[in-house]
Amino acid sequence: MKLEKFRSLSAHQRAMVAIAVLLDGHEAELYLDNDALAGEELAKAAKDFVAASPEFRNILAGDALRRALEELQSRTADVKDERLQE
């Protein structure tokens, strides 16, 4: 399973793809490819995910969502720290 396209996305975009795959499976593409900035990339990344078997796909998407969230939350924490130091 190739996830290069997925890994090249921002944390926010990866989280969107993971949620779409977890909730909508094969239909995830439909809800992502109309993104004004990166529709094609998001849809392709979702397509790569759903190529895997449902069990594997959900485990993978769940893990990807957790990692993306950690990244987003650590950035939020960094911003808070910077503001506190200012």
Partner: protein, 348 residues
């Protein structure tokens, strides 16, 4: 009611001029503009497959859903909550999600999630909602929808929208879909086209009288009653309600409003009864004006809530007094407490 008893009951000085500008509610130019099309529309009929997009999710999360209604709006009051934007053929579409709905989504789909995760869930809900809306719109005609994933404000502001009321697991919720001017004009035209479909001879015109009310006198009293300076009771009607007679038959009843300095009629429904005409009495009707409407205009106006701007001024409107469909005089509206009367000013 005889004239003598009226004069004993009310002194001349007790009457005050009835001012529609203070007594009636005002409507905006947009209310009038969209009152026969967009504001009367039933948007749900244009999105036939919308619910089908949501059934798998509702099933997965064991959510019982009920649709409660859709209401077209021209005054957007989205309240507090999250806003997401997109574009359809260059026109802005926004989704306003109130806090109550956000809480419901996150409670059912990710109850123990962090705040960041909850925000992402709401964003995905918005993407999903707007995508299913655009793809199920039967009149989209190949229009391309784009979800604006950055948080910048839309290029064009929403001037109207549709409020959706629904229940999820018994909880009453709502959301507002905002649309920009071009989409609102398009939906307005779409509804009008649907209403006018199948109306034969749409240009054929009918005469319509706008009747404010009526009274009845004994034939022997009529001559003495219609004298300048006399104040006539309004036995039938006599409030902000008016009846439209089409070809002398009761057609629509409705209410009066104002816009700038003009009176506006708002249809409420079919008129149930005509002008009272008791046996042995002469009926005197009080009319605001006579208008001419094509069949197409009549069809649009007969929708409850539709507005029609009248020619009559809201500043002391002239009341035409008719007997047996013949104008015999004119007057103005005066009030005694909450009761309205017509004061005869002159002959026709």
């Amino acid at each position: 009611m005889s004239i003598a008893s009226d004069e004993q009951q009310y002194g001349e000085s007790d009457f005050r001029a009835w001012d529609p500008l203070t007594e009636l509610s005002a409507v905006s130019a947009e209310d009038i503009r969209f009152s026969r099309g967009f504001l009367r529309s039933q948007p749900e009929v244009w999105f036939p497959g919308f619910t089908a997009h949501w059934l798998p999710l509702f099933h997965t999360f064991d959510i019982h859903h009920e649709k409660c209604g859709t209401t077209p709006l021209i005054d957007l009051d989205a309240g507090e909550g999250a806003a997401f934007h997109g574009s359809l053929d260059g026109e802005t579409v926004s989704l306003f999600i109130p806090r109550s709905l956000s809480e419901c989504i996150t409670r059912t789909q990710a109850p123990a999630a962090s705040l960041t995760a909850k925000h992402l869930m709401i964003e995905y809900f918005a993407r999903r909602f707007m995508t299913s809306l655009a793809s199920s719109w039967s009149a989209n005609e190949g229009g391309v929808f784009r979800f604006q994933s950055d948080v910048s404000a839309p290029s064009e502001a929403c001037v109207g929208g549709v409020r959706l009321d629904f229940r999820l697991n018994g909880e009453e919720l709502s959301l507002v879909i905002g649309i920009s001017q071009g989409l609102m004009d398009r939906l307005d035209r779409l509804w009008i086209t649907q209403i006018l479909k199948g109306i034969p001879s749409a240009e054929e015109r009918s005469r319509v009288r706008v009747v404010f009310g009526s009274t009845a006198f004994l034939p022997s009293e009529v001559g003495d009653s219609l004298v300048p300076g006399k104040t006539l009771p309004i036995n039938f009607g006599g409030s902000d309600s008016v009846v439209l007679l089409m070809d002398e038959q009761p057609w629509l009843e409705g209410s009066l409003f104002t816009h700038d300095d003009q009176l506006v009629f708002q249809a409420r429904g079919e008129a149930n009864e005509g002008i009272a005409n008791a046996d042995g009495m002469t009926s005197v009707t009080f009319e605001l004006e006579e208008i001419e409407l094509s069949k197409a205009e009549s069809a649009l106006l007969s929708q409850p809530g539709a507005l029609h701007k009248l020619a009559s001024s809201a500043k002391q409107p002239k009341i035409h007094i008719s007997v047996a469909h013949k104008k015999v005089g004119h007057g103005i509206l005066v009030a005694y407490e909450s009761q309205l009367f017509v004061k005869v000013i002159g002959e026709q």
